[in-house]
């Protein structure tokens, strides 16, 4: 099943070979990041590129794009060496300038100007409007990009690439920050671009998207290509096993496999709720109520921009509520800041681990010593021996893969970085764990390990509240799910095998439409 298929472009949209990379190798300090990789892309094709974190996907697309030179091999577009501008990449870290407007960003480096080198702003705004309208974005071209949501920024990036007449569009995990609704909008745009004969390389960790969108799929692992095949010839299970490098039956039943039956937790302790929020209002949300019992993992499904993040931050004391009540084990609490919340046992793992979760340049040891400094204190000093023992234990428990405890966090893969974030809160006394997009940008294998960690927290009695745009994740991880719009919160629904991500999506959509209608009246 997983044998590489010959390149049979039977699809009517798919035309001749557009991009051909042959024998590409790249060495970093003597180690092959890529070894002898062949990759080809046809015009009008969506070609998914998969692989675990650190497999070399990013290196490959950087070489295709020309950001990094290859050490061996060639990259050709239309049978001749690649020109700058043939390939446009929407990188994971967005490459827009926050303080510039939508139009300025689209035209940056490619401005429309008069003979004196002065910008023709009106003309650029007009064209930018046409481009963004075509992508289904309703926004003003004069709007600074920093005022846009992550989803709109991503579409602005795509508009920028289209405007440059790129032949090849590389999307590096475009949906990792998108909600399902925004994702559909993106997919529609991708299909439009595809029709125009642009070839699309689609890097993702979400296998459902591969089946929804891609014509072909290539998997790389440890810097080598292990598979190229027509998506129609593949099954989810076999694809997972190719990516993780295990036999199908070794893959845990939870690996993106929808047949899984998640039993409702019968052994739920019959104690009062650990976290109880009633009629809470704050930045961008209002009148939200929810309850989490100890040992339970509860998810919140909601569109981006409905105040999910703000809700978590309000519970964790980062933001202030304007009305309502938060109770912890039956006692009303009003944290003035995050450190008060922490000492009460309420920990938030933020969405943006790079900005709020970790000091990336510092070592694992340092990051974790800081978080655990209370336990490691000896007078005004830190007990370094105890710190090493503690951190070594954490690294082992969470199976953090690193050269040593002294390795800077930024040298780790995304999944391992996220594990370090969790390790910060692996301490006695965490009663409530708030997770915002816990596995964003983390590969399938590491994701499962992070789920295990979350379950450990729950087993030790913590109440876990998860916000995620990935409905498959909510379905896999949570015991029950709330549906949230900015002004309403549903009753919790237990997660069962019947509750697919499709179900979550349509249930949420219904609520959003209802709440819109209510607002109209």
């Amino acid at each position: 099943m997983s044998t590489p298929k010959a390149q049979t472009g039977s699809d009517s949209q798919v035309m001749g070979t557009l991009l051909q990379a042959t024998g590409v190798s790249k060495l970093f300090s003597g180690i092959y990041a890529l070894k002898d990789v062949d990759f080809d892309l046809k015009a009008g094709e969506v070609h998914a590129l998969l692989g675990p974190n650190g497999a070399g996907k990013s290196t490959l697309i950087k070489i295709l794009d020309g950001v990094q030179p290859q050490d061996q091999g060639s990259v050709e577009v239309d049978g001749r060496p690649r020109n700058a501008g043939d390939i446009a990449t929407v990188f994971q870290e967005l490459s827009l300038i926050p303080s510039l407007t939508v139009a300025q960003n689209i035209f940056l480096g490619n401005e429309i100007h008069n003979a004196l080198g002065l910008l023709r702003t009106k003309e650029m705004n007009r064209i930018a409007k046409v481009l963004t309208d075509r992508l289904g974005l309703d926004l003003r071209p004069e709007e600074p990009v920093e005022n846009l949501s992550v989803a709109s920024r991503q579409l602005v990036e795509i508009a920028k690439a289209i405007h440059r007449n790129a032949r090849v569009l590389v999307l590096d995990e475009p949906t990792s920050t998108l909600t399902k609704a925004d994702q559909l909008l993106l997919f529609t745009s991708i299909r439009d671009i595809q029709k125009a004969g642009v070839g699309i390389i689609y890097v993702t960790h979400r296998l459902t998207e591969v089946f929804e969108l891609a014509d072909r799929v290539t998997v790389i692992r440890d810097g080598r290509k292990v598979l190229t095949a027509q998506v129609s010839d593949m099954e989810m299970k076999s694809l997972v096993s190719v990516i993780t490098g295990t036999k199908s039956d070794e893959v845990g039943p939870s690996a993106q496999d929808f047949d899984r039956f998640v039993p409702a937790d019968e052994t739920q302790p019959k104690t009062g709720p650990r976290l109880h929020v009633s009629m809470l209002s704050g930045d961008r949300f209002s009148d939200i109520s929810l309850t989490v019992a100890p040992g339970r993992i509860v998810g919140i499904a909601g569109l981006i921009g409905t105040g999910r993040t703000e809700l978590l931050e309000t519970i964790a004391g980062v933001r202030r509520s304007s009305a309502g009540d938060i109770q912890l084990d039956g006692q009303s609490v009003a944290f003035k800041n995050a450190s008060q919340a922490l000492s009460a046992g309420v920990a938030l793992v933020p969405e943006d681990r790079h900005q709020s979760g970790l000091v990336l340049q510092h070592s694992i040891l340092r990051n974790l010593t800081l978080a655990h400094s209370k336990a490691l204190r000896r007078g005004p000093l830190v007990d370094e021996g105890a710190a090493r023992t503690l951190v070594r234990g954490l690294v082992e428990t969470l199976q953090i893969k690193a050269a040593s405890m002294g390795s800077p966090v930024q040298s780790l893969s995304g999944g391992n970085q996220q594990k370090v974030v969790f390790a910060k809160w692996m301490q006695p006394g965490v009663r409530v764990l708030l997770l915002d997009e816990p596995t964003q940008g983390v590969d399938v294998g590491a994701r499962q390990e992070i789920y295990k960690v979350v379950h450990r927290f729950a087993e030790e009695g913590a109440a876990v509240l998860v916000v995620s745009s990935d409905f498959v994740e909510l379905q896999e991880l949570c015991d029950e799910i709330y549906f949230m719009t900015s002004t309403t919160m549903s009753e919790p629904e237990p997660v069962t095998a019947k509750m697919t991500d499709q179900y979550i999506y349509s249930a949420l959509n219904e609520r959003v439409i209802k709440s819109h209608e209510r607002d109209q009246r």
Binding site: V67, T89, L96
Partner: protein
């Protein structure tokens, strides 16, 4: 479906503009107006034509250099060497006119050339060696001052060129001191170049997100070097306006100028972290510095106390700019 996603997509991150944002955005203009009203009441002499002309003349140096500094700071760089380079530029023009040819244009070109060379070096070392411009220009501050003091063994150099005095110092045009005219010209050019030209857009891009700008094909190194060169050239021009009045160049001139200029730029709403700012705001910031210098003298505040007040204002302005 589409309606939902569109509303979710385009919803601005924050709601409408709050009162605090408004005050922050127009802070510099409000502060300028308040300062004028305050000194108008505090000193009867303040609002006289004579004194306003004085303010215009005295502010020219800061305003013109601040236009250049705005480019540098929007690039997320800084230039601490402007005060020393200012002295060296003045010395260059005076020496050229005294020892080579006593022709005003040659003197002017000498000053501007020295400024351009130092600006180029500042920019080049910053981008090619990857040394933070804070350190590069701090070093250059010492180098330029040292050269200025060395060439004449710390003695001032006299200038005797009437045309030079007319063009850069003493004449008036449309009833305005010539220094004010120069200021207006430079500000107008600055507005066009920063806000209307391709180069200006790339300056904002380079300071706003250098990596993204590079990926988009912006030559960020060239943008940064050019911004330092612009600043150097304007330092040269500003030195002419000073020596044109003083009829001499002194190697100890311009010490502390960088403080006034950076304060003016930050007060004017340019982010010290790069990526945002306006030339008109910078002009208003310069006027605040100029009016404070003038008004405090009129009120008889000692120069030591003036320094303390200015220092406090810089810190206050930067703390405001952080919230922006």
């Amino acid at each position: 479906m589409n309606a939902i996603s569109a509303s979710a997509v385009t919803k601005p991150r924050f709601g409408g503009r709050s009162g605090g944002d408004f005050i922050r955005e127009y802070f510099v203009y409000i502060a300028l107006a308040a300062l004028i009203v305050f000194f108008a009441f505090a000193s009867p002499y303040f609002m006289t034509t004579q004194n306003l002309a004085n303010i215009g003349r005295q502010t020219a140096t800061v305003s013109i250099v601040a236009v250049g500094m705005a480019f540098v700071i929007i690039n997320a760089q800084i230039d601490l060497s402007v005060g020393s380079v200012f002295a060296l530029c003045g010395m260059a023009s005076a020496l050229v006119m005294q020892h080579v040819v006593n022709f005003w244009l040659l003197g002017a070109l000498a000053a501007i050339a020295v400024g351009v060379v130092f600006g180029f070096l500042n920019g080049l070392v910053t981008v090619k060696l990857g040394v933070p411009s804070f350190l590069v220009t701090l070093g250059m501050l010492g180098v330029a001052r040292g050269i200025a003091l060395l060439i004449t063994d710390t003695k001032p150099v006299l200038i005797s060129n009437p045309a030079y005095f007319q063009i850069f110092g003493e004449s008036t045009f449309l009833g305005l001191p010539i220094a004010v005219i120069w200021t207006l010209v430079i500000v107008a050019i600055g507005v066009v170049v920063l806000h209307k030209s391709i180069f200006g857009l790339r300056v904002f891009a380079t300071g706003g997100n250098p990596q993204a700008a590079r990926f988009t094909g912006v030559n960020t190194q060239r943008t940064i070097i050019l911004s330092f060169v612009i600043t150097g050239a304007l330092v040269g021009l500003a030195s002419l306006l000073f020596t044109g009045i003083a009829h001499a160049a002194r190697p100890d001139l311009g010490s502390g100028l960088e403080l006034d200029v950076i304060a003016a730029v930050i007060l004017g709403g340019v982010s010290l972290f790069g990526g945002r700012g306006t030339i008109i705001g910078v002009l208003a910031g310069s006027l605040i510095i100029g009016i404070m210098n003038n008004g405090l003298v009129l009120m008889g505040v000692s120069s030591s106390v003036q320094q303390i007040i200015k220092g406090i204002i810089i810190i206050a302005a930067v703390s405001l700019s952080k919230k922006r």
